[in-house]
């Protein structure tokens, strides 16, 4: 892999993460925040793959699979919580959920 391609892909990965981060921080809808979280996770996943390809090692792909599992678990948990919240008090705005402060 050329250096250019590598740099570009790493930048892409950084951008994906930045977009995800922004989404999580800027949006208030819980579902959108979950989506953004997925996007943010895909950034590092891409970076692992790229790095694995660059160094010719399989560990990068292993890490990708780990992140995939992590994302799936996280989405499952997040969606379950979201559904629970919807059912309990019809909440979609994460800013209204401040009980954890106490």
């Amino acid at each position: 892999m050329s250096d250019t391609a590598f740099t570009g892909l790493i930048l892409l990965a950084g951008a994906l993460f930045a977009v995800g981060c922004f989404g999580v921080l800027a949006r208030r809808a819980i579902l959108v925040q979950l989506l953004s979280l997925e996007i943010a996770l895909s950034g590092p996943a891409l970076a692992f793959i790229v790095a694995g390809a660059r160094h010719g090692q399989a560990a990068g792909q292993g890490m990708f699979v780990l992140i995939l599992v992590l994302a799936a678990a996280e989405v499952a948990l997040g969606l379950a919580l979201y559904l629970r919240l919807r059912r309990r008090s019809d909440v979609t705005d994460s800013d209204t959920l401040r009980e954890l402060r106490h």
Binding site: V24, L25, R28, Q33, S94, D95, L97, R98, L100, R101
Partner: protein, 694 residues
Amino acid sequence: MFGIVWTTDLLLLTIPSIALTGFMLLGLDPLRLRAFEIRVLAILGGVGPLIPMLVFATECFHGSCIGAVPIFTLVVGESTVALALQLDPLSALVGLTVSIIGAAVILYSVAYMAGTALGDLRRFFALMHLFLAAMLTMVLAGDSIVLFLGWEMMGLCSYLLIAYNTTSAQAIRAGRKAFIMTRFADAMLLAALLLLFLEANSVRLDALIPAGVAAQDGMRPIIAALLLGGAIGKSAQLPLHTWLPSAMAGPTPVSALLHSATMVAAGAVLLIRFAPILAAEPLLQALTAILGAATALFGAASALVQQDVKRLLAYSSISQIGTMMLSIGVGAPQAAAAHFVVHAIFKSLLFLAAGDIAHHSPQGTALAALRGARQRKPLAFLAFLAGAASLAGLPVITAGWWSKEAMLAAVWSAGPILWVVALATAVLTAAYATRAALVAAQPAPAAEAAQDDSSDTGYTLFPLAFLGFGALLAGGLVNPIIRFLGGDMPHAPAFTLAVAAIAPIAGAVLALALAPGAADTPMPAARTGGRRASVVDRVLRVLVIQPFVRLVRWVNGQDGGVEDPVGTGPARLVVWLRRTLAGPTAPDRADRLYKRAFVLPFLQLVRRLNGYGSGVVDPLGNLPARAVLRLQRALADALAPDWIDRWWRRIGAALLSIWTSARRLQTGRVRDHGLAMVAGTAGLLLLAWGYSWH
């Protein structure tokens, strides 16, 4: 086990025991008794002691006194306790007198107390029995412990009996006063007995008295003085006399028993008993005589101005026992004992008769309540006259004259000054006795004449008649008594006898002169009107009153009544006496002086100790606590702003403010926390990058 050896002599124990049993049966609450049963028990317990006493005393009068009867002897280490009773001539004589008077008084009170509630009646007779038992115990005691037991129990009983009317504050005060003042005497007697015990190493009287006489190291005067002090307090002699007039708040039978043969007379009995010790100390003997003479004169003078018959009789008791003390002081205790017997008879008679006359009177016990006695209660009136005559000591026909004569003769041998004092006492005594009799002879005001009390029953008549005859006829006993006790009839020159015989008559004249109105009243033939003038009246008028009235008129040098009563010499005397002795009903001067000198300072001390004024209750008890508090103030409070502690506190306060500002970061919003995480991660990454970048 207790070392008791049973002999028939121990039956001596029954004498006080019968009265004591009466007390216990009446005092026993679970025993339900009706009024009749109470009365029966009262009479049994009151008269019962007389029977064994008569037996023992008769034996003793025939020359075989059984002497000391040991009850039990106990030796523990050094201490020996040998309790015993004793029947010697003195205790036989006094014991017999006490049980006769006790029986008479209790019989009389069965009628006198008839109207009282059942519970009170029980209490009254129970206490009377205990009182009688205590006096008998004291008289028959063969050792100092039993003696003191009786002596002290009498004090307690007198307290409870004087305060018998427990709703009357005055009665309670009087009882308490009597108890406290006699307790002074008791303490002195206790000290004397304990010192005697240390001298003799035995409590038996037959060992104590010789040991007291033989005491060395200056012990004897101390013992004798303490004995004298004990007797003075109990007998209400100067200067401890003030409790007796107040003690009149008790019921009349109580006064009758208290004054005649028990309590008050116990002091005289004590001194007669311990006369050998006193005789060994001439100085104290002289002191006894002087105190006795002074008391006799003072009591007689005070009695003259009383307006209350019971107070009059109280001062009379003080005075009469003073003469006994005088007699003991001049070395004639036997004559004193004879007078004790005679005095017991006529004084109880006077109380009982006066009580009978004035019972249920609206005037209470004021002298005026006696008026109209002649019509209402002729027998009680006669009895009162007999008692008063005996008290006055009318020559030959009364018992009082004989015993007084014996004492005066004894006093003559001791010195003319004391004799003159005694003579003056005799004159004054006759004066107040006559005065009381004159009041009793007056007819009652019309308003009162109508009301008639319950008729007399045998319960009142028998004691009155018996004691009345005794008061007149017991004079024949004086000489035998003195001989029986081992003394000689004192002899004095004939002219002193003559002077002494005139003294009562002079006193009677003085009394008539004092009460000019009274001089007319004995002859109110018209006023009795339709009433049958009784034989009594006629006899009295012809034999006694008319000659007196003539004599009085002759003394006053006029035929009619006195126009200006204050102007006459005798009346001036009374006014002066009244002023000096401070009133007929008010507490006398000594009483007020004691109040100022002892009672009030004592109260003040108690108040001070209880936090009135200064504000600290029990100051000494609070001392340790206050000391600790002061120590705390001195040491701990100086270090109270603890600087180290203050720094710790400041750190705590700072932490608190940091915490509050840090807390503000915690918004609880997911986004804020996410931002913080991102920023933190970025920061960490930057840091790592910075470290790796050299």
